[in-house]
């Protein structure tokens, strides 16, 4: 089936070349970091995690988001998602590969990465995160490939593969739960030390992942004659709306706990993220514009979707814009605010702000481009198979 990825029009190849340019830049930046050390990033002693880990966290969510297609189709036999379930699985594969790349970019001694397996440590959540991520990657590769092959041969997929499909459902939940546990089990990181971290991660994941799939469907409708079907898109929008609303509700609960209890530790991060935190006469507020953008984009998209639902109208462009708004809003919320907000107040009660360096951003864009390239190639295969079957 791989040959389908090698037959494309000039636009397809231009797109891959465009992404490859970013991958090239990212690779050069990574070589620089590999040779010099992590000092090339904007991270420091008091703010020891940065863009890499926050992207990792966000992308675990994107990977888990595929569940919103797999679950209705395989468990509830919701036939409308038949054509696009494979997209969820392929997105999960690409997102997890990006996650693993971000982890490798983030560790100081990448050549010792195998120590995680050579010296397995069950009391570390990072160990379990590795286990569930690799497990989910393997499950998705098996399921997607076997089912797509069966579809191509126009036979029913073998029965055994459904076992893996059903196992992959709790795995999707587990990857994001364990990722949340990296954060919410750390003493004295007040912003993260809340039981709602995992549910909040899942809620935002179930909005961000499907939003990306909707955008991909709309793009492929224009460039690859692949129509996911109006009903499927509408159902996905409903799922995205509920998930985004639940996420916003959880954030609101954090605000209540922080500000009503009036406990400084619970308030500081939220103040820093949304209003600017005053500390020793200096106001720290470099993320405030991003967080308000996130809030406005989220509620703006929800309003747009609601309007479309109520008037039963809406063009592909409106849907695309709404999904992009949701995706960006959740990226700002989780891919930026969650990690930096928790780290800005140090254990020694100082406030530090984080500014990623150009080199760090280069690596980050390179990894994103790698993921997009992977998604493009995999979706090309999926669409190619669909066309072949139809022909």
């Amino acid at each position: 089936m791989i040959e389908k990825a090698l037959q494309g029009n000039s636009r397809y190849w231009m797109w891959l070349a465009f992404l490859s340019a970013f991958i090239g830049v990212g690779a050069i930046c990574y070589i620089r970091q590999y040779l010099f050390g992590m000092g090339l990033t904007g991270m420091g002693r008091d703010l020891a995690w940065g863009l890499y880990i926050s992207q990792f966290t966000f992308l675990v969510g994107v990977a888990a988001g595929g569940l919103m297609l797999v679950l209705p189709f395989y468990v509830h036999d919701y036939k409308v998602f038949g054509r696009i379930t494979i997209l969820g699985e392929f997105l999960a594969i690409s997102a997890i590969i990006m996650c693993l790349m971000f982890i490798m970019a983030d560790i100081g001694q990448p050549l010792r990465g195998l120590n995680m397996i050579l010296h397995p440590t069950p009391n570390s959540m990072l160990f379990w995160d590795m286990v569930v991520l690799l497990g989910y990657l393997g499950l998705n590769v098996i399921c997607a490939w076997v089912i797509l092959t069966a579809e191509r041969k126009q036979v029913k997929p073998p029965k055994w593969v459904y076992l893996f499909v059903y196992i992959s459902i709790p795995f999707a939940v587990s990857i994001h739960t364990v990722t949340a546990m990296l954060y919410c089990g750390l003493p004295d990181r007040h912003f993260w030390l809340t039981a709602i971290t995992a549910p909040r991660f899942l809620a935002s994941a179930f909005a961000a992942g499907p939003a990306l799939i909707v955008i991909a469907c709309l793009v492929m409708k224009r460039v690859a004659h692949f129509d996911a079907g109006r009903e499927a898109i509408n159902k996905l929008i409903t799922i995205i709306m509920y998930a985004a609303i639940i996420n916003a509700f959880f954030v609101a609960l954090e605000f209540f706990v922080g500000f009503y209890s009036n406990i400084p530790g619970h308030k500081h991060s939220l103040e820093y993220l949304f209003f600017g935190l005053e500390h020793n006469g200096h106001v720290y507020n470099n993320l405030v514009p991003f967080m308000w953008s996130s809030a406005l984009l989220c509620f703006g998209a929800l309003a747009l979707f609601a309007y479309m639902k109520i008037t039963k109208s809406g063009t592909d462009l409106m849907i695309g814009i709404g999904c992009a708004m949701i995706f960006i809003a959740l990226w700002l919320d989780k891919g930026l605010g969650f990690v930096m907000g928790g780290l800005a107040i140090t254990p020694l009660d100082e406030v530090v702000e984080y500014y990623p360096t150009a080199n760090e951003i280069g690596i980050t864009l390179g990894i994103w481009a790698t993921g997009l390239l992977l998604v493009s190639v995999l979706y090309k295969i999926a669409v190619g198979v669909e066309h072949e079957v139809e022909a």
Binding site: G37, G39, A48, W49, I107, N115, P187
Partner: protein, 267 residues
């Protein structure tokens, strides 16, 4: 390798003098018997079952108020023996022992209308060698662990992958990461100790290597003239540190987190 090892140990066996192994230092601190099970009767309820040796350190700030140069002496001694680089940029800084204002060291305690000493003096800060260390709990490779024989929270720099999860876990900010090759920033090498490489996390080791030689930790020795830092076995009711703990009111950093620090302060 087994045969080779056995041969080797035979040769080494003669030299296995008791005085060289780590717990020996405890017997150097005045008033000493090795702690044994059951001696913990006088200990606080939560630590009644304490067994074996648990090394701890006490900073008597009363002897350090108004004397920042003494604190610097301890810091320099520590950083010199351990080849700690002197990097001035706070972003990339590496520190095992350092000083900070009261409100930063004890953010859970009130600094409102604090006494003059409290407001104006800095406090020595180091790894707390917790009994329940979160850094050990989160490390994915066992590169940081508790030494069973003396309770020291140790680092194995050979194994650390540099994920910095331990820095997230530590509620005391005691850990530093090597953002780049530290060697150009080491002022003078101590040939008795290694440096670190870039990409690993490091912190205070309670001078394990000095204890093995029967020496006291470098910081303790540096301020010996006033006896501001006391080091010893917290489980031994006759050790100097225990005698002081039994007599004086001491505080610990962030006790509410349940990490059970082994570092105490008299303020």
């Amino acid at each position: 390798m087994d045969t080779q090892r056995r041969k080797f140990l035979k040769m080494a066996g003669v030299a296995a003098l008791a005085g060289i192994s780590a717990p020996a230092v405890v017997s150097l601190t005045p008033g000493v018997t090795r702690a044994a099970a059951g001696h913990g009767a006088a200990a606080p309820a939560a630590e009644q079952a304490a067994q074996g040796i648990r090394l701890g350190l006490l900073v008597d700030m009363r002897k350090l108020y108004g004397q920042p140069e003494l604190m610097n002496k301890a810091i320099n001694a520590c950083h010199r023996v351990h080849n700690v680089p002197q990097i001035d940029n706070p972003k990339e800084e590496i520190k095992w022992l350092w000083k900070m204002p009261y409100e930063n060291v004890f953010p859970e305690n009130s600094s409102y209308h604090a006494a003059k000493n409290t407001r104006e003096s800095d406090y020595l800060v180091l790894c707390n060698h917790c009994d329940e260390p979160p850094c050990v709990r989160v490390c994915p490779t066992k590169a940081t662990f508790v030494l069973e024989k003396n309770g020291i929270v140790a680092m194995d720099y050979h194994r650390c992958i540099g994920c910095r999860f331990c820095m997230m876990g530590c509620p005391y900010g005691a850990r530093s990461f090597n953002w780049m090759d530290p060697r150009p920033y080491i002022k003078e090498f101590n040939p008795e100790f290694a440096s670190r490489m870039r990409g690993v996390v490091e912190k205070c080791n309670f001078c394990s290597e000095r204890l093995a030689l029967g020496l006291e930790p470098a910081c303790v020795e540096a301020v010996k003239e006033v006896g501001a830092i006391v080091f010893g076995d917290l489980n031994d009711p006759h050790s100097e540190i225990r005698q002081i703990l039994d007599r004086e009111h001491t505080i610990q950093r962030k006790p509410s987190l349940g990490t059970k620090p082994s570092v105490f302060y008299i303020v």
